[in-house]
């Protein structure tokens, strides 16, 4: 019997489990930063940074500094940017733990001063 969690545990579409998780999270979030990717994917920060460097060298992602934070986005001009995004979103469907991590994040704006809920998330 096929289980989504089993596939999630070993999905290596982009060469390794860590690389696959980093790729899927980075592409799905559209704009992110290495520390966020590390937190959501449970991949060590240094590994995330190495993978992002490699992706940047290949022209798949681009980064820019915002303050002291390195913001990473998929290079919209890259030849297969749309296809990569469609693939990442599809893979996310079969990566339940990564999907749950992304769903636990609030990315829409939040009024200043609004309290966080009991789990530490921003209130809905």
């Amino acid at each position: 019997m096929w289980h989504a969690w089993a596939m999630d545990g070993g999905l290596k579409v982009f060469g390794s489990v860590a690389r696959t998780r980093v790729m899927v999270a980075t592409v799905a979030l559209r704009e992110t930063y290495p520390r966020e990717v590390a937190r959501l994917t449970a991949v060590p920060l240094v590994t995330v940074q190495r993978i992002v460097d490699e992706l940047e060298r290949q022209g798949i992602v681009v980064s820019r500094l915002s303050g002291n934070q390195r913001r990473v986005t998929v290079n919209a001009e890259w030849i297969a940017a749309d296809e990569l995004r469609a693939l990442a979103l599809r893979l996310l469907d079969v990566m339940p733990d990564l999907r749950a991590a992304l769903e636990g994040e609030r990315r829409r704006p939040r009024r200043r001063g609004k309290p966080r809920d009991r789990s530490g998330r921003d209130a809905a």
Partner: protein
């Protein structure tokens, strides 16, 4: 009754009834309305009510909430016995460019609550997902669509209307991902 064990649904009905008795017409909406329709899928701890036009009576609103034991602080209402907060975001009640005029009225015994429809909750959450890549909003939209009947044609039509120009690709993609998750019952 507002207490530590009261669910969001119970509190919404209690607050809605207190407002109604003070002559305040307010519509329950936002992420908390998603929890109202799909409590096991999406948990909000913050109840949003929008006062409808002509009903923006701050004093009456405050009276209604204070009669239930709420105190007003930092633009929202807190209760000592419950972690659920109540807030009144500025109107008009709108989803994207659409002003919401048709709402549902839930009656349970002598309690009453005006709430946005399940279809509008899905439109609202999907709009948030498309605009901000907010996966928690996507999950709420899917959860509500799987839990209660939703007019999916109205959702599609809304997403096509909102997603114009540079937003077209984003909204098309959001709709595609939503429909796939509903079809595959992916929560």
């Amino acid at each position: 009754m507002i207490g530590p064990d009261a669910t969001l649904r119970e509190i919404a009905l209690t607050v809605g009834t207190a407002l109604d008795r003070e002559g305040v017409h307010a519509v329950f909406c936002g992420g908390s309305a998603a929890t109202f329709y799909a409590p096991q899928v999406y948990q909000s701890e913050d109840l949003d009510f929008v006062l409808t036009f002509g009903s923006e009576d701050g004093a009456a609103t405050r009276r209604a909430l204070e009669s239930l034991g709420y105190r007003f602080e930092n633009e929202m209402f807190f209760h000592q016995a419950s972690h659920f907060t109540v807030e009144f975001p500025r109107g008009p009640l709108a989803i994207g460019n659409d002003v919401v005029t048709n709402t549902e009225t839930i009656r349970e015994g002598d309690r009453v609550l005006h709430v946005v429809s399940a279809t509008d909750v899905v439109r609202d959450r999907l709009n948030k997902y498309a605009a901000w890549d907010d996966f928690s909003a996507l999950s709420a939209a899917v959860g509500v669509a799987l839990e209660v009947p939703v007019d999916l044609d109205a959702v599609r039509e809304f997403m096509r209307r909102e997603g114009t120009g540079v937003f077209e690709k984003r909204f098309d993609e959001a709709l595609r991902v939503f429909e796939r998750r509903v079809r595959e019952r992916l929560l």
